[in-house]
């Protein structure tokens, strides 16, 4: 049975824009503080199914709707139309620093972010050592995060996410930060979770990661699915179209 069924979903956003408006409209806008807005179609009739034990990559240009799609799967946004069925616990890593408080120590942040990912206090205590050792930051446990590099922050956030019992893991460009060793280690950890039955959706511009770890790739273009298929083939077509 599929973990994720996305059936014909669409999403529109109203965004601010600078239009050539009349003096009166500009004056009204100045006093009301309201800006001119236009509607954009971020996702148009997108349908995908993801099975347990599958890693699906999502590629596409900036603004093609990748992050919006992840947010809809995570339940952060609601689609305007269509149907979405989710089976299991979703853990999303869309913004690496989300939930981390830079004036708290790494230890305090592990408890905080794990709680945001739905772990109870007793579960966090059980998994604490494993989270810390996976991040390889044992000696920084009592250091405040404002003294961490972005790579170290990524280690903390990723280590917590993969230890949060996910059935569905949503990762948005998480491999773009951090050193090569940790990237490999993280990718292997995802592979391990997937072999245990988890599903993963991975947004990335990293060709190697997409080709090596994804079972299928979805190419999004202007909110629509352009192509779905074998990673190497789709990625090459995507690169060629960008040139």
């Amino acid at each position: 049975m599929e973990r994720i069924i996305i059936n014909n979903i669409s999403k529109k956003f109203r965004i601010g824009c600078n239009r050539n408006t009349s003096f009166l409209a500009k004056t009204l806008s100045f006093f009301s503080g309201k800006e001119a807005k236009r509607t954009i179609d971020v996702l148009k009739n997108v349908s995908i199914k993801v099975n347990p034990g599958e890693i699906v990559g999502i590629i596409g240009d900036n603004g093609s709707g990748k992050s919006t799609l992840l947010r809809i799967i995570a339940g952060i946004y609601e689609p305007d139309s269509g149907e979405i069925i989710i089976r299991g616990k979703t853990v999303s890593l869309i913004n690496l620093s989300a939930g981390l408080k830079e004036r708290l120590t790494m230890k305090e942040n592990i408890f905080l972010v794990s709680s945001l990912f739905g772990l109870s206090y007793s579960e966090i205590k059980k998994k604490f050592n494993s989270i810390v050792s996976f991040s390889e930051l044992n000696s920084f446990l009592n250091t405040k995060l404002y003294q961490f590099s972005s790579g170290m922050l990524q280690r903390v956030a990723f280590s917590v996410a993969v230890h949060s019992n996910p059935d569905i893991l949503l990762l948005d460009e998480v491999f773009e930060v951090g050193d090569e060793n940790f990237r490999k280690k993280s990718a292997e950890k995802i592979k391990k979770l997937v072999t245990e039955g988890c599903s993963a959706i991975l947004v990335s511009h990293d060709k190697e990661i997409i080709k090596k770890y994804c079972d299928r790739v979805v190419w999004l273009e202007e909110g629509k699915i352009n192509k779905i298929g074998e990673p190497a083939d789709i990625f090459d077509k995507y690169v060629k179209s960008s040139i």
């Binding site: 947010r71 995570a74 952060i76 305007d80 979405i84 989710i86 913004n95 408890f111 709680s115 990912f117």
Partner: protein
């Protein structure tokens, strides 16, 4: 025709009751962790630490006592305690609701990145303010000892603060969710809470002032503060209508707040 998309969660579950219990438990657990983190952040790097929690009510108390004791307080029995109780209770309500106004916008990146029970953000503010309020309660206890009033009267404050928290939570839910859609709410509330401060009998009594009394019948803070003073300072059971009105306002705003928050929370991530 655009139809509203249903989100079907097919996670195996045993019973609806068990799910509700688990959900409440997880909201409470997360709220406690968030409150603890915010409490630490508030004191982080501060040399005076928790003394700041005492400094505000003490300075306010001293100032109001010096200005108003002769004119308004000389006929009020145990005026220092009367004044202090009013100040700390209103402080709790004011700081909770003012923090809640910006809470959704201040946590925009968490809301846009992780799907978690957003009620926890608001509940955490109330819990954190209960932690801080604890120090103010200690101040009341010391004043009770000074006036040789039975210190155990403070135990009656527990149900009052619990019910006041429900009221503050309800108002906070309303403010937090409406501010996402109408930014002006923040400025309006800052002004409204100041008006409420002057309208509530904190440093004066309303006995004998019919107009003020009738206005205060619509002011929930009047009931909570009057009930607390009656129990803690005067050791008397408040009149039944006061208890009923306090109970009514607390429950009404909690339910109203939850309803508004639950209706609007699904749109937060898109609007912030």
């Amino acid at each position: 025709m655009v139809s509203k998309a249903p989100r079907v969660d097919l996670t195996p579950s045993f019973t609806v009751i068990k799910n509700s219990f688990q959900k409440t438990k997880s909201i409470l657990g997360l709220s406690l962790v968030l409150a603890k983190a915010e409490f630490k952040l508030r004191n982080e790097g501060s040399y005076l630490g928790i003394f700041w929690y005492l400094l505000n009510p003490i300075l306010m108390f001293v100032l109001l006592f010096l200005i108003f004791y002769d004119r308004l307080g000389s006929e009020i029995k145990y005026y220092p305690l009367y004044l202090l109780t009013g100040i700390v209770m209103f402080n709790f309500f004011q700081s909770s609701t003012l923090e809640a106004v910006r809470s959704v916008a201040n946590n925009r990146w968490i809301i846009k990145s992780i799907n978690f029970p957003k009620e926890s953000l608001i509940l955490a503010i109330i819990i954190k303010n209960i932690f801080s309020h604890f120090f103010e309660i200690l101040l009341i206890c010391l004043t009770l000892l000074f006036f040789e009033i039975n210190i155990f009267n403070i135990l009656f404050y527990v149900p009052v603060i619990l019910w006041l928290s429900f009221f503050a939570l309800g108002i906070s839910f309303i403010l937090a969710s409406l501010t996402v859609f109408f930014v002006d709410i923040e400025s309006i509330w800052t002004f409204a809470v100041r008006l409420l401060w002057f309208g509530t009998p904190i440093f004066y009594a309303i006995e004998g002032q019919a107009r003020l009394f009738y206005v205060n019948l619509l002011n929930p803070m009047y009931y909570f503060i009057t009930i607390a003073r009656s129990l803690i300072i005067y050791g008397k059971m408040p009149e039944l209508w006061l208890l009923a009105a306090g109970f009514f306002y607390g429950l009404l705003f909690l339910l109203l707040g939850l309803r508004i928050f639950n209706r609007l929370k699904t749109k937060f991530a898109e609007k912030i």
